[in-house]
Structure formats: C-alpha cells, structure tokens
C-alpha cells in the first residue's frame, strides 16, 4: 500500500498513536526526511504563469506527491546553475566557505524560536545548501562525505530545499548576529533560484510576478480599475472630511511620481493608509501623480530571481522618465524598499534624468537618496513635521494605545527607525515600545515576508509570527496596547492574523492612516468618523 499523505486519515497511524514515545527522531538532520503536512507548505506555481514568464519546466504538480515531474537532467541543471552563481557572485562563494558554525545565529530565527524545527536554525538552513556544495564541488567533501558535512544532491534534497527555503522570510535577523556578516537570506535567494531552474516555485509568488509583468502590479489591476479605486477612496474621504480630492493620474510634468504597493488598493487595512497618503498630498497641495503603469512598489521578483526582480523594477524609472517627473516618492512598504534602496540603482540606474529629491514644502534635500532619487514617505513626512508644516489633533486617536512594529526590510535594510516613530508620536498621545530585543534592528518578522504571506501555510506563518506576537501580547497585557502600527503592506495583511492568534484584540494600522485621522485639514468639516468609518469620540 502506498504511504498515506498527510491529508489522509490513515496518515495518523493507529499503532503510532499508541506508541507515542515522546521522543524526537533519533536520526541526524541529513537522514530526517521532510514532513509535508498541510499548513506547512505553499501550493506550487501554476504552469500558465511560468510559461508567461519563460520559466523552465512549467507543469501541474503537487507538493505531497512522490513525483515532482522534474526534467531527466535535473541534477545537471542544478549543479550547473549553482556553479554559475558561485562564479558570478564572490559573496556567495565566501558564504559557502567562511561559516565557522559558531551558532551565534542559530537561535535568532523566528521560525526556529516558534516552531522548534532545527532545520530552521539559520546555520542549518544554509547548511542544506553548503552540504551539497561540499559534496559535489570540493575534494574533501567528495572523499569524506558525511564526515565533513558533505552529501550528494538527491531528489530528497530538492524537496528539503523547497520546504526550508520557503520557510525563510529573508528577514535577515540572523545576519545581525553573525560575526562574519553571513546573510542567510542571500542563501535562501540562491536556493530559490536553483529550484526555479527546475520550475519549482510557489503560486503565491509567481502569480503576482506574472501579473506585474503584464499589468504593472501584483494584483493585475488595470488602469481604469486603479482610477476607479482611487476615486472610491476620494468619495470616502469626502464623506469623512467634506473635502473633495481629485487624484492626479498619469499626469505628465508633475514634480513627483508616487509609487506604493498595490496591496494598498485592495486589502484592508492598507486601503486606509492609501487614503491617508491622498489626504496628506492634498493638504500640502503637492504636485504629484499616480501611475497606472508603475502601479506597484512591491517586487515579488525579489523572491523569485535577481533577473526577475530587475525586470519588474525597470518600470519605475521608465515611468518617471515618460512622465517627466523630478523625483520619486514611495509609500509604506517593506521588501519594496529593500529593492529600491539596495538594488534599483545598480540594476536599472543611474537615473541621471531625475533630480536629487528636494521637498517642495520645506526645501530639505534628501541627500540619502542622491543616487536612487527615491524617498520613503516617512522620511518625507517626518521632515514636514520637524518643520512644523502640519497641524494635528492627536486626541482624535485617543482610543488608540499604540506600539510600533519595525518591518524587517526598512529596519535592517535601510536603518529606518526614527522617522515612523516621530510621526506616530506626533499624531497620537499613547505610544509604547515593545521590548528592546524585539524592535529596531533586532525586530522580529511577521512570519509572512518573502512571499510566504498566503493562507494555505497558515500554521507555518503562526509559528514564524510567534515571537512578534509574544512581544505584542506583552505590551497588550502591560500597557493595554490595542493598536500595532507598521510601515509595510505585507505586515498590514499578515500581522493582523498574527495578532488575532497571539494577541487577540490588537488591530493593525498603517502610520499614514493614523496621521490622516489626526491631520487638521484646511476647510474640513468636524470629524466624527475615522477612515474606517468608525466614530472617533465616545459618542458611539
């Protein structure tokens, strides 16, 4: 009889149940096979998206099936790609050789901390690749095998890679603690690129990539759809503030191009943050434009391959050029900023046709963006606040007792710690920090980054979100915190779920949603509703 799959009842063998021995598997990690239980993996990429993007081996396949329908020469493909990547990138070669297995990173990954699976220790996650590198490419490894932590590439290794490289959110918390600066996230990216050559990826990543390649955004929103969406938002804003806003779209010659993740157009509570941007820009009288082509700040190409990331990113500069803007402003997002801040300039720059960003309101020149020409919205807004250009009534947020989650990429990727905090403190009266070892560069991931934020792997995400949820629960118990603010579109979607499980009662908000609620606008009516259409005061 075939071995039952985890979604069949026979999977829970009765004999096993009687013999629950309370002990972990006694095999070493190399011999312990992957356990694909539902809730612990993401569904495979659909062939139509792979075809559209020109990715090899598009096919229907199932993670729990024995046969993953790989091409006959799969070993050759993987080893060739691995060799090529090592030659191309000196960093990867160094990461392969230099780890001394000191273990400093071992207990820093949220997936290990929450779930307890040793293969989620960053050092072991990297070892999944390194062992094959040793076994296939080094003499010692070829001769001594297991003794020197080397092994051959087998189908089981491929399955293990799929499991664990899609259980890493590329958050880089581990790298903060590594004395050699080894970045496990980069190794995860490498691992995913190797799998992609065999047509192995997850649909939650590859569908948005394919959408984005076709329509300019992950969700596949068409130009008129985006226009409708922004107009809906404007209607809500008018109802709340009495102020009519006309969102400028594809406006040639505007001073600033504004780009934000498309999740803000469709998913609550990101939608409220999006309304927040619109209100702020209106109040400032900013000469800006939305683009229906550069309608996505996020870039799931980052979770696919370097090549794909570059392809998707190219539209931002292209659109800035077409519209003839001076510089680019970007919305609240996480991984979007990793791409913009660290890769865009070298991938698709230099953007010589743009000017060094200068705030038209305060005159501040954003020297930090001298080369990319793209400024983070919280940098822009914090500067306005510092110059006293905005008027707030923080008491409108008095129902909120707020803490702030540093999103991994803006925090560790670009050192954005103070700006969001400064805004939050200006627009509300009750702010409380989570414990020190869970914020700023030590922040814990939401568990859903790097393309893991879908729902079929919910258990996995809740494991990964445990350390963050635990810290939120702590401030909830201690300070009655009921609001978790963040500057990331993925967080806005995934952290609400993390809170619903680990700290029920806490709601997630974007920073510019809070700001817009407190913003005193010229000519506004007395505000009785917040952007969620909930009453502001006690008169419910």
């Amino acid at each position: 009889m075939a071995t039952p799959k985890p979604d069949q009842m026979e999977y829970y063998k009765h004999d096993d149940m009687w013999a629950v021995d309370f002990l972990p598997p006694s095999t070493g990690w190399m011999e312990t096979p992957v356990n694909f239980r539902p809730g612990s993996f993401i569904y495979p990429g659909k062939p139509k998206h792979l075809e559209y993007l020109g990715i090899p081996n598009p096919r229907e396949w199932e993670v729990t099936a024995d046969d993953w329908k790989l091409p006959d020469n799969w070993r050759e493909i993987v080893l060739k790609t691995l060799r090529n990547r090592l030659e191309r990138s000196r960093t990867l070669q160094v990461f392969m050789d230099v780890c001394v297995r000191c273990g400093a990173c071992a207990d820093k990954c949220h997936f290990f901390i929450g779930g307890g699976d040793p293969k989620n220790m960053p050092v072991l996650r990297a070892e999944l690749l390194r062992s094959v590198y040793r076994g296939e490419f080094t003499t010692a490894g070829r001769l001594l095998g297991n003794l020197v932590g080397a092994r051959k590439l087998t189908i089981d290794v491929i399955k293990e890679w799929f499991s664990y490289f899609f259980q890493c959110t590329e958050c880089r918390r581990c790298s903060v603690y590594c004395p050699y600066g080894i970045d496990t996230a980069e190794l995860t990216m490498l691992g995913r690129e190797l799998l992609l050559e065999l047509g192995i990826t997850v649909n939650w990543i590859i569908e948005p990539v394919s959408n984005c390649y076709r329509t300019g955004n992950h969700l596949g929103i068409l130009p008129h759809g985006l226009k409708d969406t922004l107009e809906f938002f404007a209607e809500d804003i008018e109802e709340i503030t009495g102020i009519a806003i006309e969102p400028p779209i594809n406006k040639k010659g505007a001073e600033i191009l504004f780009v934000t993740p498309s999740g803000d157009f469709l998913a609550d509570p990101g939608t409220f943050t999006c309304m927040g941007y619109m209100m702020l820009f209106h109040e400032l009288g900013l000469d800006y434009t939305w683009s229906t082509y550069a309608s996505e700040g996020g870039n799931f190409g980052l979770f696919t391959s370097a090549e794909m990331m570059k392809r998707l990113n190219a539209k931002i500069y292209a659109e800035a050029k077409r519209l003839g803007v001076k510089w680019i402003l970007g919305g609240e997002c996480g991984h979007m900023w990793r791409v913009l801040h660290q890769y865009m300039d070298t991938m698709n720059g230099p953007a010589d046709f743009l000017e060094v960003p200068r705030s038209p309101v305060t005159g501040t020149v954003f020297e930090n963006a001298r080369s990319t020409k793209m400024v983070h919205i919280t940098e822009f807004t914090a500067d306005l606040i510092q110059h006293g250009k905005l008027k707030f009534d923080p008491s409108r947020n008095d129902k909120l007792r707020v803490t702030f989650h540093d999103s991994c990429n803006p925090a560790r990727g670009m050192g954005l710690f103070e700006e969001p905090r400064q805004i939050i403190k200006s627009v509300c009266n009750n702010f409380f920090e989570m414990p020190e070892n869970t914020i700023r560069e030590q922040t814990f991931c939401c568990g859903g980054g790097a393309g893991l934020g879908t729902d079929e792997n919910m258990e996995m995400r809740l494991r990964g979100g445990l350390p963050r949820g635990n810290a939120v629960k702590y401030v909830q118990d201690k300070f009655d915190v009921n609001t978790l603010a963040c500057v990331c579109a993925i967080d806005r979607a995934t952290l609400q779920t993390v809170c619903d499980y680990w700290a029920p009662g806490v709601e997630v908000t974007g920073v510019h949603e809070m700001l817009a609620n407190a913003l005193v606008m010229k000519g506004e009516q007395k505000r009785t509703l917040n952007l969620r259409m909930e009453p502001i005061g006690d008169d419910e």
């Binding site: 149940m17 779930g115 040793p118 469709l266 070892n437 919910m458 445990l466 810290a471 979607a493 619903d500």
Partner: protein
C-alpha cells in the same frame, strides 16, 4: 500522599518541564531550556511558567476552569508546531512519569500508591481537557485564515472592472489561487 506531592511540587514540575523539552530535537531542547529571556525564547519560558501553574493545580485537586487558561497558553503553541494531534497533547502524560520518577522509592508503600491513583485521574482529566483546547486552537486557525482572505479582497467589488477578466480555473487544489495582501 497529597502533602508529599505538594512538598515536592517544585521538583515535580521541573522534571515535567525537562521531559517536555526533551521531546523536542536536541538542539531545540537545549535552546528551550537554556535561554532565559522570555522574548528571545517565548516558547521555553511560557512552558516553564504554565507547567508550573498546572502542576500546582493538579496536585491541589484541579478545578477545570482554572486549568484551561494555562493549558491554552501551552497548547496554542503546540497546535502550530507541525505536531500530530496526539503528539501535541501528549505532554500532559509526561506529568505521570515525572511524579513517579520524583517519588521513586516512596511508592513502594501501597497506601501511597493508592493516593497516586487519585492524582492519575486528575491528570487524565487534564488530558481530556487538553483535547478540547487543542481543537479550539485549530478552529481558531481556520477562523483567522478565512478572516484574512476576506480582508485581502475587501475592496474587490464584483464587476467593477478592476481586474482583468480571468478564465475559469480547473487546476487541482494545490494550484488554487486567491486574492491579495501583497
């Protein structure tokens, strides 16, 4: 018997905790027991706190209402750790072994053995309760999963033309697609 158990309560709950930690792979078990910061090691420290409370309650003669919140804090974690249902609640039975190990020689006395039966019944009760709690945690997971999907398409107005029209989808369930949140 009760007095004896209460006197050894600390040692018993320590043994119980160690056994729970040992049921994890060795690297994990070392981490869970050693790291003392509750934010760096939320699982280990939660288990420590809650098993000690549960142990006290069981030895004192348990009241289900008091047991549940402590059980919940442990099982909520076990429910998402990729464990089979039986394994997820199995930690309760380790308390029996912990008590027997701690009492050791004292158990030769048959009167005392009799006293132990009462405690065993309490532990069995705890195990039954833990199954309820486990199922509740799992139901919560499904509930929040659905809530998230709904939030992610909150602005999706059917027929609004926001999206490209898509062809009907007949791929197998592992290839299903859905809304947004990205």
């Amino acid at each position: 018997m009760k007095d004896l158990l209460l006197a050894r309560q600390k040692q018993i709950s320590k043994r119980w905790l160690d056994k729970i930690f040992e049921s994890y792979p060795s690297d994990t078990s070392r981490f869970l027991s050693r790291e003392s910061n509750p934010f760096a090691n939320p699982v280990g420290r939660t288990f420590e706190q809650e098993t000690s409370e549960l142990c006290r309650l069981v030895l004192e003669g348990p009241d289900p209402e008091q047991l549940v919140p402590h059980l919940e804090r442990i099982i909520k974690i076990r429910a998402i750790q990729n464990l089979s249902p039986s394994k997820a609640v199995s930690f309760v039975y380790l308390l029996k072994a912990a008590i027997r190990e701690e009492l050791g020689d004292c158990l030769v006395d048959s009167a005392r053995h009799h006293g132990l039966e009462a405690i065993d019944r309490h532990i069995d009760q705890l195990a039954l309760l833990s199954f309820d709690v486990y199922v509740k945690s799992r139901e919560k997971i499904y509930e929040i999963r659905i809530a998230e999907i709904k939030r992610n398409v909150s602005r999706l107005l059917s027929g609004s033309g926001i999206f490209e029209p898509s062809e009907p989808d007949d791929s197998p369930h592992q290839c299903s697609s859905r809304g947004s949140g990205r």
